[in-house]
Amino acid sequence: MISCILKTQSRFFCAFLLSLVVSFGALAQEGASEQADVATKGVDPGATAGAEASTGDPAVISAGESLFKNNCAVCHSAGSDVIVGPGLQGVTERRSEAWLLKWVKNSQALIQSGDADAVAIYNEFNKQAMPSFAFSDDEIKSILAYISSGQGVTSAPAAGPEGVTAGESVGTEAVGAASAIGGYLDIVLVVLIIVLIVLVVTLLLITSLLKNYLNKNRTLNEYDTEVVNQRFDFSKVYKSKAVRALVLLIFVVVLVDLSIDKVMGIGIQQGYQPKQPIAFSHKLHAGDHQIDCNYCHSTVYKSRSASIPSANICMNCHSQIKTESAEIQKIYKAIERNEPIQWVRIHNLPDLAYFNHSQHTKVGGIECQTCHGPIQEMEVVYQYSPLTMGWCIDCHRETPLNTEGNEYYDKLVELHDASSKGAFTVASNGGTECSKCHY
């Protein structure tokens, strides 16, 4: 029992120490993220003065911007840097609009038609074919408007070669910091424990020294002797009924608490962060380079599954970028051997629960981060949410439906507003019924 209390004390102490160390660590990380901020500052497109200078309609430009970022930015910068394809700054002056429309829609057709410019570009960039895009003319024009507005120019460094190195070094530093924190923590703990033991021993020694000195060198009266040679009768304590009852109670409470905790935790893998066969960094791709989630998880807006990208999606960029990296080489090997990459599955919903990504992303308009956490900051992905039914239900109870502009809900909203004052949540549309997820 005593040991139990002692343990709790030491736990408190550990917790205290931990919080100290963590706050140090956080300071260190802040330093790192400041660096990252510096590297990514340029990403903020509104920061440039060029925006006002351009004559385009802001709505068109912003439409173009989102198209550009989702589709083009992987291979092209809006500045003058070469990523996979050429930088597009000033492209509207270099080529005619008609030519560009043809090129974007089907570059191969243009090349095959023998267009001199097209063939030259194709050869210049290692005969790397640009995929065809099924854009309408207006969409392409909006992209061109965005490019000529110059808004994207300053974002170039982030996506450009310098950006890559900057981001990468930040990444490794952050990892280093994290692992260093772990290492320090152990050492600090050991040192502290040693210091404490030394302290206790020293204090005990001092007490016994003082006691001996007093007993030998001083004549003490009866009262003082009693004080100095005090004897504590421990048996009284543990024989007391009250103490025993209390101890038992605490024991039972702790035991029950622990077992409930454990049992509730069975099957919950929150924080599960397995080592993946390829050290893919979401921080680098989604965070630093701002690649749209949908680019790789291509079915997230239209299917039940978000889908893990196939190797050919990786190859869209990595046939050109960082081809020497050992991690990228693993993808090449997989393709050569014709063996798919076996990622470790992190989010494991039980078979009895049906979950559909598109329902939440496309219809519900929920951001990926709501459930998956700060994915753009994760070097190694972990399970952010508990994925328990309680967690699902909580959200369904609280979240108002995304009914804006969706004809499906028009009449339902009217009916709901007529009968109730509360928000029109998922649950109030039957979103907590069993058969919505279990069938």
Binding site: S305, S307, N312, Q359, N406, E433, C434, S435, Y439
Partner: protein
């Protein structure tokens, strides 16, 4: 309705047999079944020992502590190079075609991540746009059958394709004598052309076509084709031993046509009248207005009488009991000249010649028979096959190929074929497994499954369709056509071959044309590609074969779901109850009540059946109401003894010896001797598992009455209150639900339901319903969410005919009622569940949460419709249920629907109204910012129904089809089953209307 019709589900209920009475009050067997399947010797007394208990306890403790350890690492493996069209989690649909032994269906194949998981009708087809046959639905499982050959066999040993090709080619080069290609009916124009080209290399080549259930006589009488019957144009239909809704010629297109004349349009009520003269109670006979049992030996006389009466104008004097009905039929046929149709299932060319003459005398040609568009679905020539067998025995055949043909099993000359094959130098079979014929072959070069192959079809002149692969071959099989191309040294593959063959029917840019044809699956612009042999042997009305009457005349028939044995190894189809007898897993001797009494046989007694050739088999007896006196009927397709068909092995017996050869024609009847043995073998029928206790469950009335006053055809129960009779729904303890969004409902038209069972099969496939096997069905534990209840009835009070009153079982009327969860608004099951595992949704669905269910079975006890099913066992991953192939091996599991849970042991399950489809349909609408369109969300049963008997939809949408039907039929034909219980079901039935003479 003063004279209420008495309905009964089987003889045992009619006679209230003690066994039936015992079960009637006891829905679930009393005992717990744990030891029955799992127990060994020690626990045979059904008790758990203390030590066992402790062992279990210890084990469960260990299991619990293990469970708290780290969960196993699961892998997520993406494509290496994702195919453009495949998106994980979304289904792709491919148009294709199913054809086997006459059963033609233009289909859509649903694939998920590249695996075909469901077959649905192709609405682009005008022949089969509404639904499919149960066989087409079940054929999907054949793709994932682990017993298929995975490689070619040479002399029963695994071989490489190159080696086999080399050997076959060299042996073909030195072939001595005739080269024969034996197949069942091929309706693929390109395949036929290819076979002819392949044969042109040999000096003596013949393509012999035979059908296990032959229509040779019909073909002979009609110049080598099947007349283009169009039942939809007929006011009077006379069927003579022709089960055209179940197995005869082209059942799915025929059912669609037939039902057009049977659906009741409330604005101008009219129906065709259907006479059926037949030996056994078939699916078609069950739907007839007037049905007369006849013996096979009386058939010729009956047709002759009809022929004389129609063509000669004399009075019809039919044999025996049929005289009265025949006279009535003749009268009506004559009155409906040009709108009448007579069909016969006989294989006798003489009888068919008379039927042809009758039809032309009735002016059917050009109206109820489309002379320009005959059917090609049966082309087998009995004479050719018999001649080939004789040639083989004479030693003049040098090489023989078998494609979709297993004559050693399903031809009456089996013994002669076996002896003949020994004299043939080269025997090659394209069978997908080692079966009775391919076992004797030198080479088996396994054909790919039809879902893995390219093919084209022409079931009816001018109606072309295509089959495209929905998956690449699972094993190293090769489709027959590609094999032929390799052996004839052609560099092209069969895909290119079809394309070039189709150029002749193309218009405009060929690639565009081809893409559209593949996408639609059908091409119906009237162009024709198929070349059929025109029959040379003309049939004469004078040459009718006289079937000698014998004490017991036996008929051999094809089961609706098993075919001629093609689907013997399909557990889904084995467990699908026969539409009429409701028997599963095996064949039996169907005999009339009178014969059973005379022989003092009760159902399940094993009989020794001795055929004309002195061979004998042993099968249990089944007392079948409606079976003609002095006859028995036995189904083909059973008695498989090979290890390559583990599901079928040991089920029933092979009754093909009933079929006899008479003058180059196979007749599916002969005299047999029956002897009672001491053994008994229970028949697994699903029918007697529930009882109706004289309550109003199913309703019917006559067309005359409907015309008189449509408001009086349905009996509505009213409850007595102090204010007078009231509708049960107006008196309630419970509050009503308010439906704001959707209110799903279903209307089932009993007039349109022919009882074929396609819905049950479709439901099984869609909802991962386990196969439980014969033993468990005998224990009344089938799992089908949807069943078709078949009730017999006799109009005893109306006819005042003492003979029928005495024995209502001799020729009863039949009515089918699809029964599924009624999704009651005031559901009795919901209120008794102690853990709220079943409850009502805001869209009117009665939901079932499997993981909440603790298996008390209160809900099933409290369900008045008996539609809830309890999982007595773990049917998945359980060797004891190895025949449950879709859940017990890795390949079989590929057929499971990934959107539906595989239920565990100890939970209740039931129809969910295909909630996965409802949810997906709503989601698709939401993604496109609109409301769901009517008809977009359909349940599996409604989608597969070949007669559109089931309408599913949103009752909240006033424009939906279901709302309109309900609005129109309210107070007329619409009724709820057991309305007096005030369960307020969301499933509404429409009273069956019969067009009684």
């Amino acid at each position: 309705m003063q004279d209420r019709i008495k309905y009964w589900k089987g003889i045992e209920e009619l006679e209230n047999a003690p066994e039936f009475a015992k079960h009637a009050h006891n829905e679930f067997p009393e005992f717990l079944p744990v030891n029955e399947v799992e127990g060994g010797e020690s626990s045979s007394n059904g008790k758990t020992h203390r030590r066992d208990f402790l062992k279990l306890l210890g084990f469960s403790m260990a299991a619990v502590s293990l469970a708290s350890c780290e969960a196993p690492v699961r892998k997520a493996i993406p494509y290496l190079n994702k195919p453009v069209d495949v998106e994980p989690g979304t289904a792709n649909w491919y148009a294709s075609t199913f054809f086997l032994n006459g059963d033609y269906n233009s289909i859509l194949v649903k694939t998920r991540e590249g695996r075909p998981i469901k077959i649905e009708p192709n609405p682009s087809s005008s022949l089969t746009p509404l639904g499919t046959s149960s066989k087409a639905q079940g054929s999907l499982l054949g793709l994932y059958d682990i017993n298929r050959l995975r490689y070619p066999l040479a002399a029963e040993k695994e071989a490489k394709w190159e080696d086999v090709d080399k050997q076959i080619k060299s042996r073909l080069a030195n072939v001595n004598g005739k080269v024969a290609f034996v197949s069942t009916t091929i309706i693929s124009p390109s395949t036929k052309k290819l076979i002819d080209e392949f044969g042109s290399r040999f000096s003596n080549f013949e393509h012999v076509t035979y059908d296990p259930n032959s229509a040779s006589g019909l073909l002979q009488a009609n110049g080598g084709v099947i007349p283009g019957y169009d039942f939809s144009k007929a006011n009077v239909i006379v069927g003579i031993n022709a089960d055209f809704l179940g197995t005869w010629v082209a059942p799915v297109p025929f059912a669609k046509q037939y039902i057009q004349t049977r659906k009741l349009n409330p604005d101008s009520p009219a129906m065709s009248r259907h006479y059926q003269f037949e030996t056994m109670l078939s699916l078609t006979g069950s739907n007839a207005d007037v049905r007369v049992p006849i013996k096979p030996s009386e058939e010729a006389d009956l047709v002759k009488a009809l022929y004389n009466a129609i063509t000669g104008g004399g009075a019809a004097s039919g044999p025996g009991a049929s005289a009265k009905a025949l006279a009535a039929a003749v009268k009506e046929l004559k009155a409906n000249n040009g709108k009448a149709l007579v069909v016969s299932g006989s294989n006798d060319p003489g009888i068919q010649a008379m039927v042809k003459a009758i039809n032309s005398a009735l002016g059917a040609e050009g109206s109820t028979i489309d002379t320009a568009a005959p059917y090609y679905v049966k082309q087998g020539s009995d004479a050719d096959m018999i001649r080939l067998v004789n040639e083989m025995n004479a030693g003049s055949v040098g090489a023989v190929f078998f494609y979709n043909a297993n004559p050693v099993y399903n031809h009456p000359l089996s013994a002669k074929i076996v002896s003949g094959l020994k004299k043939v130098g080269l025997k090659v079979s394209f069978a997908d497994r080692v079966e009775e014929t391919s076992k004797l072959a030198d080479f088996i070069t396994p054909d790919s499954h039809y879902l893995e192959s390219w093919n084209d079809f022409e079931p009816k002149k001018g109606f072309l369709s295509l089959a495209q692969p929905a998956i690449s071959p699972i094993f190293t099989t090769r489709q027959m056509q590609d094999s032929l191309l390799v052996w004839s040294d052609q560099k092209t593959d069969f895909y290119e071959y079809i394309r070039s063959n189709w150029r002749s029917v193309a218009s405009g840019d060929f690639n565009k044309f081809w893409e559209k044809a593949v996408h639609d699956g059908v091409l119906e612009n009237g162009t024709s590609l198929l070349k059929v042999k025109s029959s040379t042997a003309a049939a004469s009305t004078a040459s009718v074969k006289k079937i000698q009457p014998s004490a017991i005349e036996a008929v051999l028939y094809e089961k609706v779901s098993i075919g001629a044995g093609e689907f013997s190894n399909n557990p889904w189809l084995q467990e699908l109850p026969d539409p009429v007898s409701k028997a599963t897993w095996g064949n039996y001797v169907a005999m009339p009540r009178q014969m059973a009494e005379e022989m003092s046989v009760v159902q399940g007694d094993v009989l020794k059946v001795t055929f004309a050739n002195n061979e004998s088999i042993e099968l249990p007896a089944l007392v079948q109401p409606g079976q003609a006196p002095g006859t028995v009927a036995i189904a083909m397709g059973y008695g498989r003894e090979l290890d390559t068909m583990p599901v079928a092995k040991g089920l029933g017996a092979n009754a093909f010896p009933i079929a006899t050869v008479a003058d180059d024609v196979v007749l599916y009847t002969s005299g047999v001797k029956l002897e009672k043995t001491n053994a008994t073998s229970p028949i697994a029928q699903t029918q007697t598992h529930h009882t109706i206790m004289d309550r109003i469950v199913v309703q019917e009335n006559t067309l005359a009455k409907y015309k008189e006053n449509p408001k009086e055809v349905t009996e509505y129960v009213r409850l007595a209150t102090h204010e007078g009779p009231a509708k049960p729904a107006t008196i309630s303890l419970w509050d009503d639900y308010e439906y704001k969004n959707h209110h799903w409902g279903m209307v089932i038209d009993l007039n349109s339901c022919i009882g074929c069972g396609a819905c049950t099969m479709s439901c099984n496939v869609e909802n991962n319903i386990p196969v439980v096997g014969k033993a468990e069905i005998l224990n009344r534990r089938e799992m089908h969410w949807m069943r078709i209840d078949r009730y017999y009835s006799a109009r005893e009070h109306e006819e005042k005919d003492y003979a029928t009153m005495e024995h209502p079982a001799d020729n009863p009327s039949v009515i089918f009622q699809p029964m599924l969860c009624q999704h009651c608004n005031h559901a009795p099951c919901e209120t008794v569940c102690p853990v709220a595992a079943t409850m009502h949704s805001s869209e009117g669905l009665n939901q079932m949460a499997y993981n909440r269910c603790v298996g008390t079975r209160y809900c099933a006890n409290n369900c008045p419709y008996k539609v809830r099913r309890f999982n007595w066992f773990a049917y998945a991953n359980n060797d004891k249920f190895g025949f449950n192939e879709p859940m017990n091996n890795d390949l079989g599991k590929m057929v499971l629907n990934p959107d539906v849970t595989v239920r565990a042991r100890g939970v209740m399950e039931k129809c969910s109204f295909c909630v996965q489809r409802v949810q997906l349909g709503k989601l698709e609408a939401k993604r496109e910012n609109r409301r769901p369109k009517d008809g977009e969300i359909v349940t599996a049963c409604a989608q597969s129904c070949p007669t559109e008997a089931i309408v599913f939809g949103d009752m909240k949408d006033p424009e939906s089809r279901i709302s309109k039907v309900l609005a129109r039929q309210q107070g007329e034909r619409a009724f709820h089953v057991l309305e007096e219980l005030n369960t307020q079901p969301n499933v509404t039935y429409l009273t069956k209307i019969r067009n009684l003479a």
